[in-house]
Amino acid sequence: MDQIQKTLLEEIAGLHEVPQGAYNIRVNGGLESRNTTENIDIVTKTDVSGIDIYFKPGTKKESVHIPVLLSQTGLKETVYNDFHVGDDCDITIIAGCGIHNGGDRDSEHSGIHSFYIGKNCHVRYVEKHYGSGEGTGERIMNPTTNLELGENSTLEMEMVQIKGVDSTIRTTNGVVGKNGSLTIKESIMTHGHQTAESHFRVEMNGEKSHVNLVSRSVARDESKQLFCSEIVGNAECTGHSECDGIIMDHSSVSAEPQLTANCIDAELIHEAAIGKIAGEQLTKLMTLGLTEQEAEEQIINGFLK
């Protein structure tokens, strides 16, 4: 890996060197390195580009890192990563994509992640998207996530995109089974003329299933964001979605939340708020000795944390 790739890896996964446990590092469309463990197997797909990751039933306290790095301008790829999680697993998946584009052609990564999660699992998924480079070519990421969450299983997803992605359309489709619990926390910040769209659709099909979807976003400069969520309750379930946006400069943010209850015992709530940074928050921090700009930075950092 060269210095640019190492920097991308640090930005998206906080890694200075090869991680512990299982990993699969993809660089410029090819496999850079891979490690499997007794419980986690990684197999290259033969029909399309991508990998299948198998977690043996009962795998506990193990993690897999699957970073994707692009530093070659003009590279466009669609990658399929499937996660097959056996019953009774307790695992962490650290994904992420970093694009450095120093050229004038667009670079694009479309990652299609499918999760097949068995019963009684606890899965944590962390994903960070990051872009850099002075080139005029755009850095584009269009991730699609498909989720099937089995009985009594919990999935917590943290998805962050703070810097450097020019255009993104993020699509997430989930189905939650009996007693299953899905938590999604998304943080997005856009600058310049960037655009970001998030589309979530979660169906709660199992009794006592639960979903909590929280999106925090900051739009700066002339950037544009769209948040769409649809939560469908087909059984006795509880669902909560929240979209909280800060707009700055000449940006624009739209929220289109939708709730559908198809069962008398479905309880669904949505909260949405979009607005500029509250003046009194700035004032308070300034009375502590911060400048207006420092105050703004603290408020945004906290908000997206």
Binding site: R216, T283, K284, L288, I299, L304
Partner: protein, 241 residues
């Protein structure tokens, strides 16, 4: 320490001009000075004028011999003015620890967070990582607001109705906070309050009603008047019955 000279604050309301503060002058040189008076009298507006949050229409503000009238909020804060709001501000994602560190003015965490929180009756273990958001009660927010001022430890501090929501804690503890604060800073503390027990520790009392100073003097002279209902503060006497 602080002097307000002929401060007025006018706001335009539809076709008329409303006088929120009218020609207010007073000095704060003692350890503790209390401002009291009826609700809507203009007490918080005066505090905001001192902190730089509200710009007066006319008049001057002198702090430690320097005219600070044209300084902004940040400059005044850095000169040594602190203000605990009547209504504390909530933040999404910012924790109690973050705020206290920002107040202390160092990122490295040299501030005794546990110490300032315990002074206001909060156990650091339970609060340090809590977000300063709507999940905290009004009383908890008030105490965190006070803890921030303690962490700053500046020579001049304003507390705007600090007694609100401290029911579970005691007035005695609140008074101790002010006394300790004075010992540490050797400065002046301006307390806006309706509470007799807090007014009782003041060296001087200024009564603000209808945007004006309606009475001012030594605690020994003003407090009995207030309690007797002769000073223009019916709301206060009502509260103390």
């Amino acid at each position: 320490m602080l002097e307000l000279k002929n401060i007025s604050y006018l706001v335009d309301e539809q076709s008329t001009t409303k006088e929120i503060i009218r020609d207010v002058s007073f000095k704060v040189d003692e350890r503790f000075v209390a401002i009291t008076g009826p609700n809507g009298g203009g007490k918080s507006t005066i505090a905001k004028i001192v902190a730089g949050i509200v710009k007066p229409t006319s008049g001057r503000i002198i702090f430690d011999g320097t005219d600070i009238t044209d300084m902004n909020i940040t400059e005044r804060a850095r000169l040594g003015i602190s203000y605990a709001f009547q209504q504390p501000v909530r933040f999404k994602g910012i924790t109690v620890k973050d705020l206290i560190k920002l107040a202390a003015g160092n990122e490295k965490g040299n501030v005794d967070i546990c110490g300032v929180l315990s002074e206001v009756g909060l156990c650091a273990k339970d609060y340090i990582n809590r977000e300063v958001n709507a999940s905290l009660s009004g009383g908890e927010l008030k105490r965190i607001e006070i803890a921030m001022i303690l962490a700053r430890g500046t020579k001049f501090s304003i507390f705007d109705e600090p007694e609100a929501g401290i029911d579970l804690w005691s007035f005695q503890s609140l008074i101790k906070v002010f006394e300790k604060m004075y010992e540490r800073t050797n400065g002046s503390i301006l307390i806006i309050s309706h509470q007799e027990r807090i007014l009782d520790i003041a060296d001087r009392i200024v009564v603000i009603a209808n945007g004006e100073v309606s009475a001012e003097g030594k605690k020994e002279d003003i407090l009995p008047e207030l309690l007797a209902g002769t000073a223009a503060c019916p709301a206060l006497t009502e509260k103390m019955k």
